[in-house]
């Protein structure tokens, strides 16, 4: 019941997000992060793998959800969609680390104790591997300005003497490159 209610809210936020509602999208990603974190930590622990990589997997999964949100349809339940992406990314990540991901992976819904806020909040601020440092050129500079220095699109446009549209294009390309860097990495 609680799960269904939560997923209905996620679906509403995603629908708004796809229509260009940035705050709703921010709320959605912020709500997904602790769920993905609990899922990653629990699955890694079950498989006897180190949970130290969990935050990294959370970020890679959020990036995948972001870049592939075109594959969610309003008529589809959002929970199974998120679960399928989280599972794919987790298995992929374990495979890259040289582990055989043959252990049954639970449903996302099973893994999620809601809340448990404080410790998880803290984890959300944890530093993870800075693949973003490896982004080159203008793309890299723009992604770093926004993600590490906390600039918004407008600040960044002024800083680099670019239009806001051009900053958004570079940001999008930078995030796609980041996804490629994740894929190419072994470990």
């Amino acid at each position: 019941m609680a799960l269904e209610g939560r997923e209905r809210v996620w679906a509403e936020w995603m629908t708004a997000a796809l229509a260009g509602d940035e705050p709703a999208y921010h709320r959605l990603l912020a709500a997904l992060a602790p769920v993905l974190r609990a899922y990653a930590r629990r699955t890694l622990a079950q498989m006897g793998a180190s949970t130290a990589d969990a935050e990294d997997i959370v970020q890679e999964t959020l990036l995948a959800i972001h870049l592939h949100r075109n594959t969610w349809r309003q008529t589809d339940p959002i929970g199974p969609w998120v679960t399928a992406i989280a599972r794919y990314k987790l298995i992929d990540s374990l495979r890259r680390r040289g582990r055989r991901a043959e252990v049954a992976i639970d449903d996302l819904a099973d893994a999620l104790p809601d809340g448990g806020a404080d410790q998880e909040e803290e984890l959300g601020r944890r530093q993870v591997i800075r693949l973003v440092d490896r982004l080159e050129g203008r793309q890299g500079a723009i992604v770093r300005a926004i993600s590490l220095e906390g600039a918004d699109i407008k600040d960044t446009a002024a800083k680099f003497g670019m239009s806001e549209g051009a900053v958004r294009v570079a940001l999008h390309r930078g995030l796609k490159t980041l996804a490629q860097l994740y894929r190419a990495r072994d470990g």
């Binding site: 796809l18 260009g20 940035e22 999208y25 921010h26 990603l29 912020a30 992060a33 935050e55 959370v58 970020q59 959020l62 990036l63 995948a64 972001h66 870049l67 592939h68 949100r69 075109n70 594959t71 969610w72 349809r73 589809d76 339940p77 199974p80 969609w81 679960t83 399928a84 992406i85 599972r87 794919y88 992929d92 984890l123 959300g124 601020r125 944890r126 530093q127 993870v128 800075r130 973003v132 992604v143 926004i146 993600s147 590490l148 906390g150 918004d152 699109i153 958004r168 294009v169 940001l171 999008h172 995030l175 996804a179 894929r183």
Partner: protein, 211 residues
């Protein structure tokens, strides 16, 4: 990078990729055009196509190849989306299989046993095995490209589905050229040719569809 900052960064990016179904529709338009061009330039329809259209065996070839094509398209669309219902899409594949089975049973009843082998071997087996994969190449590339704008969590299966759509399309075109109309021939050689394309798609899937 901190996850909170990362989320803020993602939220600032508003670009959304084209929806998988739209990408597949685009691939379909391109795939049909390329396949039709290749078919017309290499083989073309058989000269007696007007009279052939009045025979049940000739028409049945299209029923079964279009069923393969349609089932493949549904399957590819389901496999392009994480959590997509690939199982019920895969069940549609039973339609062409059942149609083929029924046609084979009827053929075996109405045709004397000593004509079975000649009909199965036919005259165009080698052409069929070469032409269907050749015509399917362009559409296969187009459908794989379309699937790249999706997020297939089973890349080998998604690649195989792309192969199935491409092969169904190629077989539909090829059927208008081929003079062998017996279900015995179709069940043997068309299936083999389609399987080749499906295998190529399954092999390519994990190589080109990772995300």
């Amino acid at each position: 990078m901190k996850t909170d900052d990362f989320i803020r960064t993602l939220a600032a990016d508003r670009a959304v990729a084209i929806r998988p179904n739209q990408a597949l529709a685009l691939a379909l338009a391109v795939g049909v055009a390329v396949a039709a061009a290749v078919f017309t330039l290499t083989l073309g329809p058989r000269p007696d196509v007007a009279t052939a259209l009045q025979t049940v065996r000739f028409l049945f070839k299209f029923v079964v190849t279009i069923a393969v094509f349609a089932a493949g398209l549904r399957l590819a669309a389901a496999l392009a989306r994480p959590g997509g219902d690939a199982v019920s899409a895969a069940r549609l594949l039973l339609v062409p299989v059942a149609l083929m089975g029924a046609a084979l049973a009827i053929e075996l009843v109405v045709v004397p046993a000593d004509a079975w082998m000649p009909r199965l071997i036919g005259y165009n087996a080698a052409v069929c095995l070469g032409a269907i994969p050749l015509i399917a190449l362009g559409p296969l590339a187009a459908f794989l490209l379309a699937l790249r704008s999706g997020a297939p969590t089973a890349p080998a299966r998604a690649g195989a589905a792309a192969g199935l759509v491409a092969a169904g399309l190629a077989a539909t075109l090829y059927a208008s050229h081929c003079a062998d109309d017996s279900p015995l021939f179709v069940a043997t050689w068309y299936s083999l040719a389609i399987a080749l394309v499906v295998a190529a798609g399954a092999w390519l899937g994990p190589r080109v569809l990772r995300w």
